[in-house]
Symmetry: C2
Subunit: 408 residues, 2 copies
């Protein structure tokens, strides 16, 4: 969350964030830390004066600035913002009411999974939006549905059923706009007259691939096209990997329906795992190359949840969605987020008898470590107890509490 | 293991075991406890004199004996044994060298999984065999490959590849002789000129279903037909469920390639889970009813191992097979069995860095509880240590030990 003492949300702040995105790719760790320290205009000043504490960032910025011979980043940013306005695109920054709060959790990735996350997975500095819905509200009840470009008819079928059903039940379907699974997910949501968001790795004025352009036009009308890169930006190869962290972070959970081994979709899922969000994987024929990535994740990740269709996706993200749909929000973010997982763990404790923590983890679709942490808190609060070598609800009281919480 | 002071292995012992199988279905808990207490001839005496401590067993036995008007169970047993000899079938009892020791682990099921195992899952009292290989040796390096009768072409294809490959590499393929997946597994093993064992729910002289009779004849020639029921026994419906525990217990691990929801194959797997044996599940299209049971197990059982083909099956059972192929056996059974799992856990600890216990469990294909227990012992032995919030190999020494163990 931004420091409210800075000029957050001002035109200067917005322009500075656009300029910073031009000086280093989104997600840059050193850049993000500087903005936390000095706010966006202050960081831009520091960069332009060569006050750059990180070597890698310094050489990137100096290369872009070209020794001062090139255009002033501030002017470039202002021109970009004018152009975007003409195109019907707006820029959203963290101090805006429509900022999608979930993406800020990218800031904590390293703490949760040491050594596993690249240095370039920090939260976005700004998000460009084309479409008339408020960004944060649209993403609140959202599920990412992603997968292979070279999808099979099986993958398209399963994706269509899941995405149509999600959109039909009021969930926003988020994907990356690519051919194959991504396009099937967007199209199914459009077919259900639901909302869909394409998270792009290029400018929202020229969504890639152009083969999907009529689909992108429909999305711009009824959903949202979003990007961290300003209008006019090219879909450079590495940007897809940078973009994937936003798909993972902006949604309540991610479903991968088909994925080749070590593909873009599995990279997106690695972010989902690191964020400890519901990571849902659809299995397929072991004879299909497009399911190899899915099966690898199901084999190697105890926190991957195998889902076979819409019902199990809804079961996995459903309770979270209900939580996010509740009005209370704001500075209690940290505490609410904890309650969400605890409530989920509490809900999967059997009404009668007991269950082992690993069973609860499997049912809740949460990592075992998370479940153990939540169980400690729930136990302290007297909402669960250890019985018969497992976790059980206490004889009286807690069940009633749970009922209230579920109904609320 | 039988009490060596009894008349174990004598004709009287064999005949008594045949008679006991006639008086109550195999696996009967009360019967098995009586045999442990009083040996087989002693138990038969007690039953014939009405000294039956268990109510359910007493009414079953009295119904069979029909108030003494029917044939003497001892004579019936002797006649059965003579008839079996003419048919080329032999009876194997626990004191025989060829007794498959693994099935005795059924005796401990209840201790490991309270409340989950029916009372009728006790070890066999005897096993009828048709075929020329020693039973125990044949089952030592064996994998069960089981699944749906109404198999799809996908299931048949995957089953055939796995079973052929196992047989080709010297593993015995065990299955239940049914249409569909079972028959595909047997036939693939026969095609590989490998060994296969059909575990029947009826007499070995009249294997069911008769539609597979030419296959059964080939199995009798090159592999084994085995059953707990004496020659002439009918394949009664409930016997398939009783039989399934032997498939689970006699093998180093079980693969299910296709299974409908709550089917015979999933019941077999419930025994495999309870025995903490490798439980391998092949996923399939979520659109196929014959993969629903597989996906349910993968969702509900953290100790199920998703396998996509032969290589992963061999990886899961391979080390165990190597262990079982080693000469040292006998009374050290308990200790060896512990070493086997510990060695497996040790092998999956990464050479560099650390891994969480749940990752080790996923890699080793073992339940988390088992892994945690083994890790405590390995830690005590100084072979692993806790580092960076995970489990790691110690800087020196242990890696060399591990190398030796792997090579041995």
């Amino acid at each position: 969350v931004e420091d409210p003492t800075g000029p957050a949300g001002s035109d200067e702040d917005r322009a500075a964030r656009v300029a910073l995105t031009w000086l280093a790719e989104p997600g840059n760790r050193a850049m993000w830390s500087m903005v936390q320290e000095s706010d966006a205009p202050g960081t831009l000043d520091r960069l332009l004066h060569g006050d750059i504490p990180d070597d890698k960032l310094r050489s990137a910025v100096l290369a872009r600035l070209g020794g001062g011979r090139l255009v002033d980043p501030r002017r470039l940013a202002e021109a970009t913002m004018r152009r975007a306005k003409r195109l019907g695109a707006r820029i959203v920054v963290p101090s805006d009411a429509e900022w999608p709060r979930r993406v800020d959790e990218l800031a904590t990735l390293e703490l949760d999974a040491p050594g596993r996350i690249s240095q370039d997975a920090r939260p976005p500095l700004c998000i460009w939006v084309r479409g008339r819905w408020p960004l944060g509200e649209t993403l609140e009840r959202s599920v990412a549905v992603v997968g292979a470009r070279a999808a099979t008819s099986y993958g398209i079928q399963v994706t269509t059923e899941i995405a149509f059903g999600l959109a039909d039940r009021g969930w926003t379907v988020v994907s990356g706009g690519a051919f194959g699974i991504d396009a099937a997910a967007h199209r199914a949501a459009l077919a259900a007259d639901g909302r869909t968001v394409a998270v792009l790795a290029c400018g929202v004025d020229r969504p890639y691939p152009s083969g999907n352009s009529s689909m992108f036009e429909k999305i711009a009308e009824t959903g949202l096209l979003i990007s961290e890169w300003p209008p006019g930006s090219e879909p450079l190869r590495h940007r897809f990997l940078v973009r994937n962290r936003v798909i993972a972070a902006a949604t309540a959970g991610t479903v991968v329906t088909e994925a080749a081994a070590r593909s873009g979709a599995t990279q997106t899922m690695s972010r989902v795992f690191a964020l400890q969000r519901p990571a849902m994987v659809v299995p397929g024929p072991v004879t299909s190359a497009m399911s190899v990535g899915c099966h690898e994740m199901l084999r190697s990740r105890p926190d991957a949840t195998l889902v076979t269709g819409l019902e199990q996706v809804l079961e996995t993200v459903g309770r979270m969605g209900e939580y996010y749909a509740e009005p209370a929000r704001g500075p209690e973010h940290q505490r609410d987020s904890l309650d969400e997982e605890s409530a989920l763990v509490l809900e999967v404790v059997p009404a009668a008898g007991s269950a082992a923590p690993e069973e609860l983890a499997a049912r809740a679709g949460l990592p075992l470590r998370t479940v153990l942490r939540r169980l400690s808190l729930l136990e302290l609060a007297g909402l669960v107890e250890r019985r018969d070598g497992g976790i059980a609800l206490p004889p009286f009281g807690a069940a009633a509490d749970r009922g209230t919480e579920t109904a609320g």
